[in-house]
């Protein structure tokens, strides 16, 4: 098995699978809104706008078909959230799943958190392959027997049955958020997790649903003074007292829960000074951070704003250590992108298992990878045309001006309705999942 820590130039990405329909008319409900591998990579979960969660499981690799390196097949599908109506405000609450986060596996069952704008739910996904048979008081259909007809007693036995995967909601964490939840993050203590909305972050204990601790509150006393919101938050992967949250002004705050109950005073404040030559009316909007992720090592954080991905060293607050241009050719198009609201698209970003490569999405179903060591980058496309089994993905290039080469695409031809906002990287292998509207693409590196 190739892949772990390999340099990007050696990696050739191949199409593996695509999930979802090919229909031209996409139902809004089928649009994938979050993608997440579990901690072993055995399971891959997606959430959609219709409030459903679909979990794929990697099949065991078989010696008969070594080239099919463990395909992902549907394991469980369930309706996580339903649309609700807030009668107080006369507004609908969308059932769209904003985030899914897995808990580390501690027994045979799998647990995940899924959240919409207002409510977080803990789901237990478990297998059942046996069922009890031979009850005394009821027959096989479950109907009660007439006790006077029972002449003998028997001991019920467990008999094997077809595998059933059940998803049950174990906890519902509701009524704690006035604003829209944008992030959830499981703490490394595995006992608590946080949920963040536009103005507040709450800390929960998994066992307690009727209380949460408010650990960050940036709501001003007078809402008219509001100029900044929380855009993403995450716990440190190893230090259970540390978390970060990002803002719409392009700043990241690192907080230590040991210092105070309400972490309004940050321990560290990460902000890059503005480049005066690039200043425009859109500067603030494009500096708004749409995603923040700790590296697996816990030494770095990665942030995504509209045009770039940045890597920060936790020990250096005044500027990022690396900046990667995702689609700088859009810089001269900001006004159009403001008009059609694309400038508000929230792209996510992910690390590979060894923190050597980072990935994020773009428009036209393009996604980008940056190798932090070699400084090389590649643009790939998730499309049905490239979807032959084990077909190698060809790098794509956007032509900025002047002559367009044969395989290049010009900026004006980009399809801004095809945006890749959500991607995921297997924790230890070179397997990636890319959500393109209602389709989920799975790519793997080439097996020799």
């Amino acid at each position: 098995v190739a892949g772990f820590g390999s340099l990007m130039q050696d990696v050739l990405w191949c199409f593996s699978q695509v999930k979802g329909t090919i229909d031209i008319g996409v139902t809004e409900a089928d649009i994938i809104s979050t993608v997440e591998f579990n901690h072993t990579g055995e399971l891959l979960a997606t959430g959609d706008k219709g409030g459903r969660v679909v979990i794929f499981q990697r099949e065991q690799e078989s010696k008969n078909q070594p080239h099919r390196r463990g395909e992902y097949n549907v394991y469980s599908t369930f309706q996580s959230h339903e649309p609700e109506f807030d009668y107080l405000k006369s507004l609908e609450i969308e059932e769209k799943i904003n985030k899914i986060r897995w808990l580390p596996q501690q027994n045979a069952a799998y647990f995940l958190l899924s959240t919409n704008d207002k409510t977080v739910k803990l789901w237990k996904v478990s297998e059942r392959d046996k069922r009890p048979e031979g009850y005394n008081l009821k027959d096989e259909d479950g109907r009660l027997r007439d006790p006077s007809m029972i002449t003998m007693l028997r001991v019920p036995v467990l008999r094997p049955t077809d595998l059933m995967v059940e998803a049950t909601p174990r906890r519902v964490f509701a009524n704690a958020h006035t604003y829209h939840i944008n992030s959830i993050s499981v703490n490394s203590d595995y006992e608590t997790y946080m949920s963040a909305d536009d103005l507040r972050i709450n800390l929960w204990n998994f066992e307690i649903t009727n209380q949460s601790f408010n650990i960050v509150d940036i709501k001003p006393a007078n809402m008219e003074e509001l100029t900044e919101v929380i855009t993403a938050a995450e716990f440190h992967p190893h230090h259970c007292n540390t978390f970060v949250y990002s803002s719409s002004k392009g700043t990241i705050r690192l907080c230590d829960m040991r210092t105070a109950a309400l972490c309004d005073r940050h321990a560290k404040f990460f902000e890059e000074p503005e480049d005066p030559s690039n200043r425009s009316f859109f500067s603030e909007i494009i500096s708004s951070i749409s995603d923040v992720k700790f590296s697996h090592s816990g030494r770095y954080i990665m942030t995504r704003d509209y045009l770039t991905v940045k890597v920060w060293d936790l020990n250096m607050e005044n500027r990022p250590i690396e900046t990667y241009q995702v689609h700088d050719y859009l810089r001269s198009k900001l006004c159009s992108l403001y008009e059609n609201d694309c400038i508000f698209d929230k792209f996510e970003c992910v690390w590979n298992g060894s923190d050597s490569v980072i990935m994020t999405g773009s428009y036209n179903n393009f996604f980008r990878m940056f190798d932090r060591n070699t400084k090389r980058d590649v643009t790939l496309e998730a499309s049905r045309e490239n979807s032959k089994p084990r077909a190698i993905l060809k790098p794509r290039k956007v032509c900025v001006g002047g002559k367009r080469r044969k395989d290049e695409i010009s900026v004006d031809s980009l399809d801004f309705s095809k945006k890749i906002l959500h991607t995921a990287w297997h924790p230890s292998e070179n397997i990636i999942a890319v959500a393109a509207t209602n389709n989920l693409y799975i790519f793997q590196d080439k097996v020799n």
Binding site: D86, K89, S90, L91, E92, I93, E94, D117, T178, Y179, H180, D198, L199, N222, M223, E224, E225, L226, T227, E228, V229, T231, S248, S277, N278, R279, S280, F281, F282, E284, I285, S288, R331, S332, K333, L334, C335, S336, Y338, E339, D341, F344
Partner: protein, 249 residues
């Protein structure tokens, strides 16, 4: 750029807006571009009122952009120019002119996603040679639908006799920056989800309207809503009257 009748297309590809601002201000097109960006932003803030609670991050970013433009216009002196032109007897005339523009934008509301912005551009194409006062009145057509209600309040409250455009932007920034002691009264005078009430808009706390459209934005409302909107208006007349009494006592 406007000469070529580029509807709803922004000034992309032009280096002006991205370059150093100081040197560019002399170019008239910069002011027009900035004005169109301001109007587009104001329309976007309005369109935030939807069935689902508006995206707070997006609203805040747009509001910050509006404030940036206003600050720059204040420094420019462009803001002063708008001030002086909007006070005085001209207010009544302006009511008429904006009403006309409002009607045309209502007709186009069904076809276009951003109807008033499209209208603005279309009107502006015809008014190429005009000076900035024309700019201002066509710009105020974007706020015209909301100002229909605002006009009613104005005639009842002579002490607030500002021009429509000035009043609408002032109310936004008063609520944003809490400059005026009357800001609370202003908030209550527009309980009907108008974008004047930034607090209401940003938090999506709407008391009356099921559909969540701005009450004044009848251009955007579906026909079924007008009945409920007019009920709200009569209630608000009374509410405003009550608030006026309370504040003055």
């Amino acid at each position: 750029m406007f000469v070529r009748g580029l509807k709803r297309k922004c000034f992309d590809g032009e280096e002006d807006i991205e370059g150093t601002l100081a040197g560019i201000k002399a170019i008239p097109s910069y002011n027009l571009q900035r004005q169109s960006l301001l109007d587009m932003s104001l329309v976007k803030l309005q369109l935030c009122h939807m069935l689902v609670e508006p995206n707070l991050c997006r609203s805040v970013l747009i509001a910050n952009t509006v404030r940036q433009i206003q600050e720059e216009m204040t420094q420019d002196g462009t803001w002063q120019m708008i001030n002086t032109q909007s006070t005085g007897q001209a207010s009544l005339d302006r009511l008429v002119s904006t009403d006309i523009l409002c009607r045309s934008s209502r007709e186009q509301a069904e076809e276009k996603h951003v109807p008033s912005y499209g209208t603005f551009n279309k009107d502006f194409d015809g008014d190429q040679g005009q000076d900035s006062s024309e700019t201002m009145s066509t710009a105020s057509s974007v706020q015209a639908p909301r100002n229909l209600q605002g006009n009613v309040w104005e005639m009842e409250n002579p002490q607030e006799n500002k021009g429509n455009f000035q009043k609408s932007l002032d109310q936004i920034f008063e609520t944003l920056e809490n400059k005026s002691p009357n800001s609370v009264e202003d908030l209550f005078s527009e309980v009907d989800n108008s974008y004047y009430d930034l607090d209401t808009m940003l938090t999506g706390m709407m008391s009356n309207t099921k559909m969540g459209h701005c009450d004044g934005l009848e251009t955007f409302s579906s026909p079924t809503n007008t009945a409920s909107n007019s009920n709200c208006k009569s209630d608000l007349n009374e509410l405003d009257h009550i608030v006026e009494i309370l504040v003055e006592s």
